[in-house]
């Protein structure tokens, strides 16, 4: 047994406040620009808060696991989006029920777009989304790329890196994650970034998003723990490096 396994065993047998199951959606085809970092951060912070993480993944044609507490989805290339499209449509109603029911979810870039109503490519093809979020995305020839800073009413200053050519507009039943102070965000006009609906957080920010924005990671974990165990008993993660990384990142050029 490795040190890691014995530590996990110790935690689960003696001290764990409970298990939190994190599911990565389509990590094989939708996982680009460090989206894996979000899964790693949840896994570690769940542990640092004294719970036991279980990291699961779901790829096209897999059996969908039960009792998922947090769902994570990343970005992908056009080819990746084509591969998952049919499977995502088939899973759509179930994912929609989970979102309505309050399951915390984080979707980045490509899966943010596909959690919306549709993506219309610049050549006019319409790729249907699963409609969890009241947003629509239109392909464009302009690539929005670079460091981003935004102000979120819930999470404070959020930092990351965007790289997309889809222009997303929000409908009335979602609110933006925040207003950009540097960078483009959802589109090149509106000045806002991401979308919030129930416990779903959607964003274009890679970076990865969660390491430098632990407030969002802890929101997902807290929500999952409260839904499952009634309360969340936080631990004391050391966020010294995260705070310094944020300070330095905020000073970098676009």
């Amino acid at each position: 047994m490795s040190a890691e396994e014995s530590r996990m065993e110790y935690v689960s047998n003696h001290a764990s406040k409970g298990t939190i199951r994190v599911l990565q959606l389509y990590p094989r085809d939708m996982n680009i620009y460090g989206d894996w970092g979000n899964a790693l951060v949840l896994q570690q912070r769940i542990r640092w808060h004294g719970y036991t993480p279980e990291l699961l993944e779901y790829n096209v044609d897999d059996e969908f696991p039960d009792d998922v507490d947090i769902i994570l989805g990343g970005g992908g290339q056009d080819s990746g989006q084509l591969i998952i499209q049919d499977d995502l449509q088939a899973r759509g109603p179930m994912l929609r029920d989970m979102a309505e029911d309050g399951t915390p979810m984080l979707v980045i870039c490509g899966l943010y777009q596909l959690f919306g109503r549709f993506f219309k490519t610049s050549s006019g093809t319409i790729i249907p989304g699963i409609g969890i979020l009241d947003v629509e995305t239109h392909g464009s020839s302009e690539r929005l790329i670079g460091n981003v800073t935004l102000d979120s009413p819930e999470f404070g200053e959020v930092l990351g890196y965007e790289n997309h050519s889809g222009q997303t507009t929000l409908g009335p039943s979602v609110r933006p994650l925040g207003m950009v102070s540097k960078g483009a965000g959802n589109n090149s006009k509106d000045g806002h970034e991401g979308a919030r609906y129930r416990n779903v957080v959607a964003s274009y920010l890679h970076g990865s998003l969660l390491p430098k924005n632990p407030a969002i990671a802890d929101f997902l974990i807290r929500t999952a723990a409260e839904r499952k165990y009634g309360t969340f008993l936080p631990g004391h993660p050391d966020d010294g490096f995260a705070m310094l990384a944020r300070e330095h990142a905020a000073r970098r050029p676009r």
């Binding site: 620009y33 290339q77 670079g146 790289n163 990384a245 990142a249 050029p253």
Partner: protein, 444 residues
């Protein structure tokens, strides 16, 4: 034929050298005055032009091809200074031609950045191209990996003689199917490849992070079994600490290698395949003796600037390992095991490094957990420290200022061999500092 632009360009070149100016400026001048200068000069070469492109390893591979060809007595023109764009080639040409615009060379071997290579091949059709890989690099410039593959494909399509492809990279391998068959005037295609036993050390970016800490290439069917891969002209069979086995012409050849790192040595197989193609076409059939000379030349190739360079500081080796994308970093960690070494990591995010730090999250740092990292430095030192924290790697200290960090690292690890993983501009800063205390090769 006398061309007025050449003497003028050479004057500008001399003048901008005196001023300490950039190497591309004279190229810009000659491009404006005489846009056909480059095409005219390069098309006069008896054995044509070879273009080396791909996301990782262009510089070292180009250097190897040049040294291999020189070992066969060929005169080679190359863009040695790392001006891997069209104007840089024009500038290098100006330095190499005589006052009448004549280039005294048999063949040109040019390292070209993917996007610039496309621009270049539209002006000068290469007789050979060597396409190394499509990795997650500089995505903030080209948007997507698949687009980078399309750029390489356009280089291949313009190639008149032989295209040499990495059969282990699915995106590069796929380029073969977009070429006209030889019977219809398309180029011939050669491959370089890896032994099955080495494939797991060469993950492609699609395999990078399928799950947890599993770093194998398991999710790519071709990478595991390889039975549907085409036969390769040169195969890297084995890599030892200071030697390697290559297979070509049905024979296994063992040789010592000055190059370090599995990754560089795989590029040696690529260089060998291209050099063999050029030598064969030049009419110098590689007889047994010539094959030996090629391998001997290969064993003597030293790493290019910053690519696995080893210096001596306080009587101990100090390795500089350039890392600029996730696969490069992972290969660096695999090729240079941490045990017994003091480790420093320096991460900058200047334009030449790429602004996006996401890539650090696509690298697994578990191999550093045991010994820890002594110092983390660079503009994005805290991003790196945070990354290490999430992999449970102990961090000895963080100092964003590179000269200060390097001094602390060297004095803190006295009597120990040292290794620094660094991004491009961090490496420049580190070399500048090291040149004050030890002999560092000067790059012209």
């Amino acid at each position: 034929m006398f061309s007025f632009s050449v003497p003028l360009g050479k004057l500008v070149r001399a003048a901008s050298r005196l001023r300490g100016g950039g190497s591309a400026f004279p190229g810009l001048v000659v491009e404006k005055i005489d846009p056909r200068f480059m095409q005219r000069t390069l098309s006069s070469l008896p054995f044509g032009v070879a273009v080396v492109s791909g996301t990782n390893g262009k510089t070292t591979t180009t250097k190897m091809v040049v040294e291999l060809l020189e070992s066969q007595g060929l005169k080679v023109f190359t863009n040695r200074t790392g001006s891997n764009f069209t104007r840089g080639v024009a500038a290098a040409l100006l330095g190499a031609v005589d006052w009448r615009g004549q280039l005294d060379a048999d063949v040109a071997v040019l390292e070209l950045d993917e996007a610039h290579a496309v621009h270049f091949v539209n002006m000068v059709q290469p007789r050979y191209s060597l396409l190394l890989n499509v990795l997650r690099d500089q995505l903030d410039r080209f948007g997507e990996i698949d687009k980078t593959a399309q750029l390489l494909e356009r280089i291949a399509v313009k190639t008149t003689g032989t295209v040499v492809l990495n059969r282990e990279d699915p995106r590069v391998l796929r380029i073969a199917s977009s070429l006209k068959p030889q019977a219809d005037g398309g180029p011939s295609v050669l491959y370089f490849g890896l032994d099955t036993s080495l494939r797991s050390t060469f993950p492609n970016d699609d395999d990078m992070r399928s799950s947890g800490s599993d770093t194998s290439a398991a999710s790519s069917p071709t990478a595991v079994d390889g039975s549907d891969l085409p036969p390769a002209d040169v195969v890297l069979r084995r890599v030892g600490t200071q030697d390697a086995d290559f297979e070509f012409d049905g024979e296994l050849v063992s040789t010592r290698m000055k190059l370090r790192g599995v990754y560089n040595i795989f590029n040696a197989a690529a260089a060998l395949a291209l050099a063999r193609a050029i030598v064969t076409a030049s009419g110098r059939q590689p007889s047994m003796a010539d094959g030996d000379r090629l391998v001997k030349a290969l064993s003597e190739v030293a790493p290019a600037f910053g690519r696995g360079e080893s210096l001596v500081v306080d009587g101990q080796p100090l390795d500089l390992v350039l890392v600029k994308n996730p696969s490069g970093f992972r290969l660096g960690l695999k090729s240079f095991p941490a045990e017994g070494y003091a480790t420093m990591i320096a991460i900058n995010d200047n334009y030449a490094d790429g602004r996006d730090m996401s890539w650090l999250w696509d690298v697994d740092f578990e191999s550093l957990r045991q010994d820890g990292v002594d110092l983390v430095s660079g503009v994005r030192a805290y991003d790196m420290a945070l990354r290490l924290q999430y992999d449970d790697v102990p961090v000895g200290g963080v100092e964003t200022d590179i000269p200060a960090a390097l001094a602390a690292f060297i004095s803190g690890a006295e009597g120990k061999p040292k290794r620094v993983f660094c991004t491009y501009t961090a490496m420049l800063a580190i070399r500048r500092e090291l040149s004050k205390i030890t002999a560092v090769e000067v790059v012209s």
